[in-house]
């Protein structure tokens, strides 16, 4: 079936490219091909499915297929009226990307893997560079493709002269980390995701970057004796990534940038999960291992659904408002209620709040950390568990406020700009797809225990036994409580808006304004202002940039305050490095000075040097005829 799927995708791409003149044909075939191929692949997936299915790949394939379809349908609305004339390009590369991503999970040999991996990067690069008139987009695309290439270089090194397990792992962590977005290797995410069309960002952030973990699990972590190393490395990276990612997400003003940073955070969470898994197996803590792996794999699926929904929602917002700058939006909830509620629920889910899916995986990882605390282990494991516990808790709080900021700034209050004022609800396809993803995540919440029970990769530790029972029980409990919560909320709402007598249900009045008669949208709290206390508190890490005009004089004329946050990795590591290289290159150009005399001089000196080497330092000159 996979072959069929690839065939369909390939044909789709081909036809789309062929008929790029007529957007309707290209769009139709492209979209249909994506969906049909996904269905075929899904059939193949189901056929491969044995009980219990012991393959890791399955966990990575489902998100690809789901998000591919979701993104395809969403694109129908998203592209309408924007770059339709390039629909052929879009759909062609979309199909190739999907095919390559699916192929990566099925690659049989390192070489196949490499080729498909590069192809994936290349095709998705073409999608990122879709809006190529804009200089910023091209720059983002450049950063992305460079990151892809660097990763590929490390992978080549890993595959072809890796050597010891440790070397393989280190190279793999760097090579795949560039795709995953481990701290300091993450720079391309906040650049590429805002630049790409929303469905593409959804596909990339929800399914593609996770494939890095697939690579790590499949090709780099095969040596049982090194599990401790794997565990510690992943935990360290995960903790930094989680906290740092969320912290920087907090400071963003561009919605999709915020989401991109939250992807970095979620990848960190997964890393923590896998790290606990490995560390648990290494230190003989079965519970920790199981909870860690289970949490990580669950988070894989959940993050795919929720983040996909959020990015698609962001796409809808972009089409509705025409901007992604949160401080210029506002009041969209009244104009696009459905999109708003769905976005809010997805956001709550990703900040790990019950009754939404996001809580499940975080919960399991908390359990892993607690298992590390309760088991009499050695100090290191204990300390790490404690650190993870605290960091996860803090990050949870930060995530909540970041998403509150996003929802509040985009959907609530009064519009902060004229274009926001005449926003409108989006077309059906863009409207319903995020909702569908939300429903899927709800189903996942209900069925999580079964996913773990049956769909759990066997190699991740003991799939039977006490820990498994605990895990499943906990998941069931959480599921029940989520249901209860929804029930309670429903009851409360029904009581408040149905049972309370109509006379007391509530009338509409202006917002309480503390006596100031005509409040305007400019008095509202902006998103930046909302998170400013936190960004101030963590200024040591974030180093916010500030541009302000203080009010002066007795009758101050104009004054302004602007605060924004630049990526730490770019600002303090990569930018200096690249500058230094550019400068060095600039200096080295002096060699090509244009003076014939110097050229000849260089030649003669080299010649003499060669002779010197040959006759002084290299053996074997003696001997006559």
């Amino acid at each position: 079936m996979d072959g069929v799927a690839w065939g369909i995708w390939g044909m789709g791409a081909f036809v789309a490219f062929l008929f790029s003149r007529s957007s309707s044909i290209a769009t139709g075939t492209g979209c249909v091909a994506v969906c049909a191929g996904a269905l075929a692949a899904l059939a193949g997936w189901g056929a491969r499915l044995t009980f219990p299915p012991c393959e890791v790949a399955g966990f990575f394939q489902l998100p690809i297929l789901v998000l591919a379809v979701a993104g395809a349908i969403h694109s129908l609305g998203y592209l309408k009226g924007h770059g339709e004339k390039r629909a052929g390009t879009y759909w062609g590369f979309y199909n190739i990307t999907v095919a390559a991503m699916y192929g990566v999970t099925l690659a049989g040999s390192p070489f196949q893997f490499l080729v498909l991996w590069e192809l994936m990067g290349l095709a998705s690069f073409a999608l990122v560079a879709f809006e190529r008139e804009s200089k910023e987009v091209m720059r983002a695309a450049w950063i992305y493709i460079v990151a892809c290439h660097a990763g590929a270089a490390f992978l080549i090194a890993m595959f072809f002269f890796g050597g010891t397990p440790t070397a393989v792992f280190v190279l793999g962590v760097i090579g795949f980390g560039l795709k995953i977005g481990f701290p300091l290797l993450h720079v391309w995410l906040p650049e590429a995701h805002p630049a790409a069309p929303a469905p593409v960002s959804a596909l990339m952030s929800g399914a593609m970057i996770q494939l890095g973990f697939y690579g790590l699990l499949t090709y780099c972590t095969w040596s049982l004796s090194e599990y401790a190393l794997y565990g510690w490395t992943l935990l360290g990276l995960g903790v930094i990534g989680t906290f740092g990612g969320m912290l920087f997400a907090l400071g963003q003003t561009n919605l999709k940038k915020l989401l991109a940073y939250s992807s970095i955070e979620n990848m960190g969470v997964m890393a923590i999960g896998f790290g606990f898994g490995f560390l648990g197996s290494a230190s003989g803590n079965a519970g920790m291992s199981l909870f860690g792996f289970a949490g990580a794999f669950l988070h894989l699926l959940i993050h795919a659904l929720l983040k996909g929904g959020l990015f698609l929602g962001a796409g809808s917002i972009l089409r509705a408002e025409g901007t992604l700058e949160m401080d210029r939006m506002g009041g969209l909830l009244k104009r696009a209620p459905f999109t708003g509620w769905v976005f809010a629920m997805n956001a709550a889910g990703l900040s790990g709040l019950p009754p939404f899916a996001g809580f499940l995986s975080e919960f399991l990882i908390y359990l892993a950390a607690l298992a590390g605390l309760t088991a009499p282990g050695h100090y290191g494991v204990f300390a790490m568990s404690l650190a993870v516990l605290i960091v996860l808790a803090l990050t949870g709080g930060l995530a909540a406020s970041a998403y509150v900021k996003a929802v509040g700034a985009v959907f609530l209050g009064e519009p902060r700009s004229p274009e926001a004022a005449e926003a409108h609800e989006v077309t059906a396809s863009m409207k319903w797809v995020p909702g569908a993803l939300l429903i899927l995540s709800a189903l996942l919440t209900a069925g999580a225990s079964w996913v773990i029970e049956y769909g759990f990769p066997a190699y991740c530790g003991n799939t039977a036994g006490r820990e498994m029972a605990v895990c499943i029980a906990a998941l069931r409990y959480v599921g029940v409580f989520s249901g209860l919560l929804i029930l309670l909320a429903a009851i409360g709402l029904v009581w408040r808006f149905r049972l309370v007598p109509r006379s007391r249900r509530g009338r509409v009045a202006p917002t309480w304004d503390c006596g100031y008669r005509n409040p305007s949208a400019r008095m509202e709290y902006t998103g930046t202002a909302f998170t400013q206390p936190l960004t101030d508190f963590f200024a040591g890490v974030l180093r916010p940039r500030v541009a302000e005009e203080k009010p002066e004089g007795d009758f101050p004329r104009k004054s302004s305050f602007e605060e924004w946050i630049e990526d730490g990795g770019v600002r303090f590591l990569w930018q200096p490095v690249f500058r230094a290289l550019a400068y060095l290159a600039h200096r080295i150009h002096v060699l090509q000075s244009g003076y014939l005399h110097l050229y000849i001089l260089a030649m003669v000196l080299t010649l003499l040097a060669m002779l010197l080497w040959a006759f002084l330092f290299s053996a074997g000159t003696e001997g006559g005829f």
Partner: protein, 312 residues
């Protein structure tokens, strides 16, 4: 020996009923320190009854979160209440890691409340929401420090102080670490329930409000739900505190239940005393207090491990 479930159930119902008493007690104590007679002990009950009979008012700006917030947040709180060890009896619905779920449910309540506040588009409520999120985010750290302490202490990840391995009499052994943890949690309690050094529930100046600022726009039944929720939240935190300080040997007895209820009411008195003996901190100082609470909790764990023999 009574049936634990009965004890749990009865004390659960009692908590639901008695919760609004706590603010009354607090105010009474403050009045006492201020040398006034102060409001009636059952004032909140009257207020609730009155508010429920009034008509609700919603901001014209609001798009829906404002209306939805009060019932949903109260739902979260009630659900969370189901997880607590009322009367020092492990909740029949409890499970491994229920503590995590408990605090995340409170988090959900806060999330929706804050969104409701932002829904009005009022700058004051935005301000209050922003502060609330900041403080709670930092409080989470301290809270999970305490949860970690419980886990270390009992060897189990849940709302119980019964050690997995039977354990021993510990007020004699672990007094220091328990006190540290309790102290940390008390700070959290004050912060999360908007008590004085962190927030001033009585203030009438919007600029200095946190929680009050968020609910400026509510009235009638909605306000009633919110006020009841606030008192219930205070009650639950007090209950957790009791779980930390009361000796486990009286668990599951009527005595234990009595002690718990008494302890909760006593907590209210202490809160009142503290409130009337301190002034509100500057907002810049609040985060430091919360980080300090986290540090204290970690210190508790450290004591438990090193001096009171956790890790061999």
């Amino acid at each position: 020996m009574a049936n634990p479930t009965v004890i749990w159930l009865s004390s659960f119902l009692l908590s639901l009923i008695l919760a609004p008493l706590l603010p009354g007690i607090v105010n009474k104590v403050k009045a006492f320190f201020a040398g006034r007679r102060g409001p009636n002990l059952f004032q909140l009950y009257f207020d609730l009854a009155k508010l429920l009979r009034k008509e609700g008012v919603f901001s014209a700006t609001a798009g829906g979160f404002l209306q939805v917030a009060p019932p949903v947040s109260l739902g979260c709180l009630l659900l969370a209440a189901l997880l607590l060890p009322h009367g020092l009896v492990r909740s029949p619905l409890g499970f491994g890691g229920d503590a995590v779920l408990f605090f995340y449910l409170l988090g959900m309540a806060r999330f929706i409340t804050v969104l409701g506040a932002l829904d009005t588009g009022s700058s004051f409520e935005g301000m209050g929401a922003s502060r609330e999120m900041q403080f709670s985010a930092l409080a989470e750290g301290a809270i999970f420090g305490v949860i970690g302490f419980i886990a270390v202490f009992t060897g189990r990840a849940g709302f119980t102080m019964l050690p997995a391995d039977g354990g021993g009499e510990w007020w004699s052994v672990h007094a220091v670490s328990l006190l540290l943890a309790a102290a940390a949690f008390f700070v959290v309690l004050m912060a999360e329930n908007c008590r004085v050094p962190f927030d001033d529930p009585e203030t009438h100046l919007e600029l200095t409000m946190i929680h009050e600022a968020m609910i400026l726009d509510y009235g009638g039944p909605d306000l009633a739900l919110i006020l009841y929720g606030a008192s219930l939240k205070l009650w639950m935190y007090a209950m957790v505190l009791m779980m930390l300080v009361l000796p486990w040997s009286i668990c599951g007895t009527w005595l234990g239940m009595g002690c718990t209820l008494g302890g909760v009411l006593l907590t209210a008195v202490v809160v009142g005393a503290v409130e009337s003996s301190m002034a509100r901190y500057r907002f810049l100082k609040v985060p430091r207090m919360l980080v300090g609470a986290l540090a204290v909790a970690l210190l508790g764990i450290f004591f438990r491990l090193v001096f009171e023999g956790g890790i061999q």
